[in-house]
Subunit: 347 residues, 4 copies
């Protein structure tokens, strides 16, 4: 019963098989491997973007920080929400990679609205040498609170950004879960919705550690390559990144694992709704649930070996006190585990 | 017949098995996995350094640049040779990670002598705010030209550095090949020889992509952890780095593969000495050979499918013109391939 | 009738005389001039801080960014208000000089309270490698909205910072106006109130361009000197910075000019209170006034040649619409100009 | 008898007068002062460059580092001589401002030849992501050893740079002395000779502290303005920079003071040639002399109060040992002082 994070589960057997398949003979290094050529082609096809520049890195933070460093000058500000991963969870990687760009916080939570974005942009006067210069808008899909922007919401935000001539980046660490939730195509959720660049996450959804960075305008390609090498994120034995991504893309594995994770979260959500004293804090649209349970229920789950994000302490006098938690389902969660979790919670 | 680089070969089956073994169930993320605890313990044992801070990253450039950024202030200079990897092959990663440290080039080639190092240090006046401040000495073992510092040579350089109170870093991308060449212990080649920090390379010697960074003084631990995360080199599913290193360390695999690679290079060297027109450019002590062959011999090898680093062009009128090359043997090279290479060269 | 900024007025004749006096013969360069020794001694005396490290730079942004870069690591966050100069007016100089530190915004305006500061600090979990590490607290005195922290307020904030072991920096671009407002000693408003480092501004109060940076703990001295030179803020003909500061310090000129500026603002405030339709937006404690006037009054002042910060447009249909403005008095403003301004406003 | 540096002398009375003249009334801040408009116009006229972007900063290091940061990407290398100010005397300001660019050292001394430059450029393979990318060429005129590139020499170097599409920057801290030495126009020594950007130094030749940065292609203007502000080098009371430069430009003061300094150095050189035991180490073309004198002569000069750069120690047994020195003449040196110096040396 492990719901702590989709960073803690195993890699999918098909991904491991692809890695194993690539482990023969000699391959050109530093991204010139034939597997990467295949990956590039597959991603361009799946995104209907034959010109896209496609690269692989091993961590989501690298994908975000490198991509943003291409889009943002050091004196520009990146518009993001106060709960975004780049603001809360990357130990200043965006500031480091951009050479000192500022993150301007838009809205109050994990999603921003066009009005909030407009206010954030207008907060920095255009053309004033003293202030932050307006830079890229960074969205996250699925958000850090498990929400999914609709295509209409994305379009409204990117349209606004375009009126200010600002590029839009999408942190797609859970891109696949969003696709599964919306039932749309990758193109619809990205360039057709005004996204200029994105990360396409593999790590959280069945890989060991690989994220694609995609720029729909290939003019950014060479600068990205230089920045990737300079940041020590160009792998010499690059085939092992390529192979993971190949296994992830082939036979639409990435869609299948994401659909499974979302379904697992839906089952878990449905179960939680029947747990006495449980309260949902978000409307789980993908694979993340934020909820509260009474302390006594947490204690019971804890004693049974359940592991998940607890935002509070089990110690306390009041067994009925509501304590919040985060539950994340990855591709490997089974119905049995979910049902067992709910059963223990309900007792 | 692939001798281009030890970055192009496959991973060792035992390493892949360890990765496969780790691919079950849930593991704490970001380096808190139990496999990492085992790796840390093994490395401390092998280096006879029970207090050492031990970390894993995925690339050699990350290991070098992160470690040096802990040892060097932005206004300090790093003393290294003009052929060092950090100077020639890392696209300014050291400058980026340190925030602008300068590399001062010592000597003329891949090894430095104490006299050259002293001259390099003295070139920057102590305590003058206008100039580069003296910083760490960075050595490479095995060097980029396939040479190995003897323990005496290492001790002489580190003793000199100590008189200036400068820390010494060792780029150990091919650390294992040096150990195999010298027949000494890791402790003898590192802290007993005055090395303060090093990278212990796995990638070139049988892993997919993993390097350990070792600080013998654990006071550097927390800063390194922050820098690693900030540079996006902290893996969420860290177990896959740990598992590679575990497979590499267990049963002394790393010594065995390095010994094999060195022996292969020795066999290749011996063969080359009998090729008419061949000239050795270095005295191959580990797994790298620099030599020249007549153009016609290169052409013959090329036609037979041999791949290696050619520093010149096959095109040209004079079939006897000497053209230089780099040959690298990794753990997976077989005697048959070596003999076939020599046979073709000799014909 | 020029109230736009204390950056637009002339330098005081006594400052110019000191510069002229220093313009004879040869002086050691780069801060080794005898005038600087005198300045250092005077500042140490005035601050009752015989060990303080004292330096001069030419701009307030340099003083802030250099001092903060000594106090903050790149992975730390600086706690400041959303209206602080370092956040709003320095085009990322703090981010640049610190190598990527983040500014965490505390409170909603130009002053922070201990509760707000505590919330800001607690927002970043201690010891979590993923998040911003807690760094210095940066206060401004006089604030950007013309307010002055009382000694009690300062002590409460610095006491809180000390419980978290965080250093406290004071942006003293208008330090002298605050001293004039509070009637306390420099020591009382700085190290006795828990301030670790500060800028002591000269530019806005009668100099051409000079700010002192003062660290009460001299351990920061050498790093500051290196950072100052590296940032190109070490003047070769340093005597011209020293001389300005000498003229500013001698005979307590700095107190006299600040007292004059504050008195001018008080006179202007009193006058505004009698202008029909005028509304004070702040409680002017030093030399800055934020207020609104009806559009028609602005137009009248504008036509008469008054210059000041207008936060809106003169164009508009409603002559009674309240439009806000900033008025700043420097040392050179005369009562005649103030009275004329009020007379025109009142008509 | 002060020949230590042109950084130690006073400012010219005409410069001081211009500053005094500007010290009246209110001026727009941050470079919008009317004096700056006049300065910009004068420089464009003198350089016959009506489109040039012209800015002022207070230090030579700021001029160099800011200009180079506009011309060089962080992953590019700047080609300069091993004795250049940016390499030896700026405490990594170029590395800091560029975000980690590398300085590649060309030649062995203070001047580079086209062959040496070509070798330096070719040393970094074009288009290889692992290595330094080729960036701007940085020349110094007058060089740090007192030499002057002829127009032919400049043209040969810039022509070579152009074949590689590399921009050329000129460190003109002693630009005026070079103009005086060559007797050419500013345009001839800059854009007509292939220079893309330069610093035009005022500090060493009669100002308190001001250098112009000139880009002949105005496309760099806005980026420079942002970088200048971000680096805290935009003066609020900018008029005091403008006024210095105005005084320096008016009536060709800058040519007159430079001609005087060069003439003084020529007189001093002629005198030295007659001092027994003296040896000239350079061929003084501008205002700097490198020479040796016997220890006993140094001692005599020292006892008489002469101050200059001594590269060795007065202590020693051999009174005839040759000890080298640097002598610099600024605009304020008088013939009397020179003659006295020579007289004492000759005795």
């Amino acid at each position: 019963m492990f719901f702590a994070s989709d960073n803690c589960g195993p890699a999918h057997p098909a991904v491991m098989q692809a890695v194993s398949d690539a482990n023969t003979g000699y391959h050109p290094s530093y991204g010139d491997d034939a597997v990467m050529a295949e990956v590039r082609s597959l991603i361009r096809n799946q995104f209907e973007a034959p010109e896209a520049a496609v690269y692989l890195v091993a961590t989501g933070t690298a994908a975000n920080a490198l991509a943003l460093s291409v889009l943002a000058q050091p004196w520009q500000t990146i518009f993001c929400t106060p709960l975004s991963h780049i603001q809360r969870d990357e130990c200043h990687a965006p500031e480091f990679f951009t050479g000192g760009a500022k993150l301007s916080l838009v809205g109050e939570a994990d999603k921003m609205t066009p009005d909030q974005l407009a206010a954030g942009i207008e907060d920095w006067v255009y053309g004033d040498v003293h202030v932050s210069q307006r830079g890229p808008v960074a969205l996250t899909q699925v958000t850090e609170m498990g929400h999914v922007y609709s295509l209409n919401e994305l379009n409204a935000l990117t349209s606004l950004a375009k009126t200010y001539r600002l590029p839009v980046y999408l942190d797609g660490a859970r891109f696949s879960n969003a696709i599964a939730a919306l039932g749309c195509t990758p193109a619809e959720m990205t360039w057709r919705a005004g996204i200029d660049a994105l990360s396409f996450g593999g790590t959280k959804n069945g890989c060991m550690g690989v994220e694609a960075v995609i720029f729909f305008d290939p003019k950014h390609a060479w600068e990205f390559e230089l920045r990737r090498k300079r940041a020590a994120h160009l792998f010499s034995k690059h085939r092992y990144l390529s192979a993971q991504m190949l296994g992830y893309l082939k036979d639409n594995l990435w869609r299948e694992t994401a659909a499974h994770a979302n379904a697992a979260a839906a089952r878990l959500t449905a179960g939680l709704r029947e747990v006495p004293g449980a309260t949902l804090l978000n409307d789980p649209q993908a694979n993340m649930i934020f909820a509260t349970l009474p302390r006594a229920v947490h204690q019971r789950l804890h004693d049974a070996g359940a592991v998940y994000g607890l935002h509070g302490t089990l110690k306390g006098d009041d067994p009925q006190e509501a304590i919040s938690m985060r539950l994340v389902c990855d591709w490997s969660i089974t119905d049995e585990l979910i049902d067992r979790f709910i059963d223990i919670a309900k007792v």
